[in-house]
Symmetry: D2
Subunit: 288 residues, 4 copies
């Protein structure tokens, strides 16, 4: 669609609603000889906040994204805008954390390698050593950092250090069974993506399939959400379900749940990687 030699970038922004926002922004873009190739916008009627996501293609070969950004600054300021710009050709760096269940990890590694999910993968971190071989087969560094029940703080500090070293844009909890401490949630706000194996807000916390079996639901699900200080209560990015029957055991649910967990996590992660998500309060706006 866009010429691969020319710069393509995403402008994601929110600001108090007022007339002429689109005009101001689009005129600025046109004045820099760039073209809006994809547009999403939403006006929240309650807070009267305006949200937008543009994919923009430069038309000149000598377009400078740095210059564009610094010149856009006063425009944004005049609109009281919170904004970010992402070069579409630069992949985000994602660190994956995992415990023992390997289906999400195996899925992400495969889709990453064939290029279906565009991210850089500096390393995988686990509180167990059991998935080292899988990760290393993909030539990805694997770090085993145990979380000791007696000294969780130290374990998380070591984990945080290793994460920081990797310099990620996003952290993916691909069935990482440790609860992230508040200070880590806070440090990487809206950058930690978790997959929870229930259709939240049903079955918060541990062993959701066991809870589902106990309640006798006819659907099980999965939820991809940003991690916040309150367990399984962060902004929901994506959800889906799968139908079960009375003769499905918990083992059957766990098996069938794998596909829906993978699908939901990969869709949610893709949204994040393509800068399609804006967070407002405890909810997400997704320009899909």
């Amino acid at each position: 669609m866009s010429d691969p030699e020319k710069v393509s970038f995403r402008l994601v922004a929110s600001c108090p609603d007022q007339a002429g926002i689109v005009a101001k922004v689009s005129v600025f873009i046109a004045s820099r000889n760039a073209s809006i190739v994809e547009a999403g916008q939403y006006e929240d009627p309650r807070t009267r906040t305006f949200f937008m996501r543009y994919v923009v293609s430069a038309l000149d070969h000598d377009f400078s994204l740095a210059a564009f950004s610094s010149e856009f600054e006063p425009v944004a300021k005049s609109l009281q805008m919170q904004w970010r710009i992402a070069n579409a050709s630069e992949k985000q760096r994602a660190v994956i954390l995992v415990s023992k269940f390997d289906h999400c990890l195996a899925y992400l590694l495969h889709r990453w390698r064939v290029g279906d999910l565009p991210f850089e993968l500096p390393c995988v971190i686990s509180n167990h050593d059991s998935l080292r071989n899988l990760v290393e087969w993909y030539d990805v560094p694997f770090h085993h950092i145990p979380i000791d029940k007696a000294n969780k703080q130290a374990g998380f500090q070591a984990t945080a250090d290793k994460i920081e070293e990797a310099g990620p844009d996003v952290i993916v909890l691909a069935r990482y069974m440790q609860i992230f401490p508040p200070w880590l949630c806070s440090k990487y706000r809206h950058r930690v993506i978790n997959i929870h194996h229930s259709f939240l807000p049903s079955f918060v916390g541990a062993r959701p399939y066991h809870q589902a079996e106990k309640r006798g639901v006819k659907l099980i699900g999965a939820t991809c959400h940003y991690v916040t200080e309150e367990l399984d209560a962060g902004p929901i990015i994506e959800q889906d379900i799968v139908r079960i029957k009375h003769n499905d055991t918990i083992a059957d649910m766990m098996r069938q749940g794998k596909d829906v967990e993978n699908r939901v996590l990969s869709i949610g992660l893709r949204y994040h990687l393509e800068d399609r998500i804006l967070v407002q309060g405890n909810k997400t706006i997704v320009f899909d």
Copy 2:
């Protein structure tokens, strides 16, 4: 499939698990010159309970279902069996209760009239008078029995009297917005079907679409369940969902929810009318 002149019936039963149940029952059926045309069975591994549903067709024109039942009694007793037999040609009697939302009622009336949902409809009862015209167009008696906040007991007594007069096999709460009192739940145990407009156990109680909007879920749903003393906590019969987006308002959810409510309620009701549901504890076994 089965000869319309010959008796067809459903045998639904549960008993402690042991060897030879199917043999005993099927030999008895064959000995009465009848044929099993549909079979469902399930063995609960925890309680070691056996559940079964047979659709049986008599092969003789002079087959007597009464005689069959009384002769089956000792067989069932020897297996410590709880059982019931339903003549497939006899429709169940259903009383529909409704408040102001008319989509479930309109759906049920239409599907009832064209024969898609096989039941007798002695009357519709509402705590409001607004849906009288719709019901009476179908030549169905409509009873307006208000539930006065100051004297709920009297209202429910009048409702219960009218229900009893109608002699229903099943009571359908088609968006009836009053909470059934425990004594009514108890009187018609596993015979009162409700449609709740959320994927339970999420969003129990009042205004689930408002709760869903607040939590920012990406799916809304509906649950058909038997009514018990505990609000929205009875055995779940059927559930389904519909996908929503960040720009869907509560009004949009309510509109889109109508289709899934109708679908889920009609599927759940059909299961009940065709004797496909067995209740075990707080869960349902559905032979679909």
Copy 3:
């Protein structure tokens, strides 16, 4: 969301792709003191065509949509734009055509009356007289215009006359079992919406459920599409499916198909009524 006293309208357009389209259009809108509250756009990479749909709210009480339109004309011309503007407060006029199956009609009438589907309904036309009572209960004029096998031309001419008299913006074939003649398709191009009871292109033509049963598919579906000269081959607007099993008879499929037909038709019709559909060649662009 938008102030009910102020004009809100939809601008739907397509034009050859070039830089600055959004800028030109949005600047013009801002210059007339109006605000873009909803935006969809798409750039087709093959034909390099740009498609857009804006929902615009005027900010002044004395905004004139007529003046806006005539002043927009030269802007549009300079972009070689095909465009239309629709006042959001003016409902489209829809004529419904139906034969004997009543589920789509009953659904549309109910959703129309409660305001879920916003259209004017001047009349319902049928080649049978059997659904007169249902239509007249809603106080909607019903016209019985038989299509005689021996003289189809005369029947369609009479039908076309009655349609023309009603002056519809859209014609809904709600299980109308006669094939529209090419001259009628051509007269109302991209304004005749049909519901076909299969997931096209599977099972074109007559009796799709019978075809589905014969092929042994595990899903049946429905397709909402614009009617063109080639049978069941027009631009697809919406599709969905429902799962079936080996023991579902054709009658079971027809019953279960009703819900999916209704859902798909109403979603497709809503898209049309809200000016969300642009047709390109034989495909639709849907800004949902």
Copy 4:
């Protein structure tokens, strides 16, 4: 559920319908001191054929499945029954054939290794060498057998020889892009499972995603079916779909199609491995 030390087996059978089939079979099973723990049956109304699948658990430790089978022979004969018995503890042998697309293969290998899909995997065969590393990482023999355009017969003969050597119960075409010759289809009738990347009968043959893009459908799908002499026309086992939008490119469809292909293939294969499928004419009966 069943005692792991005791024999558990599946009895799958079909015969002309008559009274007393269930009685005869279940009495025989009870007489051998075994218990029916799962039952599915279906009576085809057109051909008056009876289909059944029982899961049976022996109650004695010295139960002999060989003795049971030989003693059941005359019972089956008296019912003109076609039947087979499978020991539930013996996994089927599956040979996987693949070309260049690796998603189905990667999925099957992962689920096989963790035990989600119970089969023996003697080898993987490919007409390309590119997936050797992936297969060998799982310690599974990989055979590269090119299919030369100029001499397809020789290539298929070599493939058939290698398959025969492996002695499979089932052959899985996991995106194997060569058309199986009739003699191979015939040799392994109802034992070759293919995944086709469309919701058949739509888009038979090559490049179904390209066909889907051309037709402008709103859903893409996948179909798991038995391979027969007629291309993509064999008995359908399982199907599912995923929703797409006007701005999804063929590459997007291919990416999103992977999940639905994997899910549909693994469900269809599981049905086969658990002896849940009976084929009647060109349709499948699936006891799920």
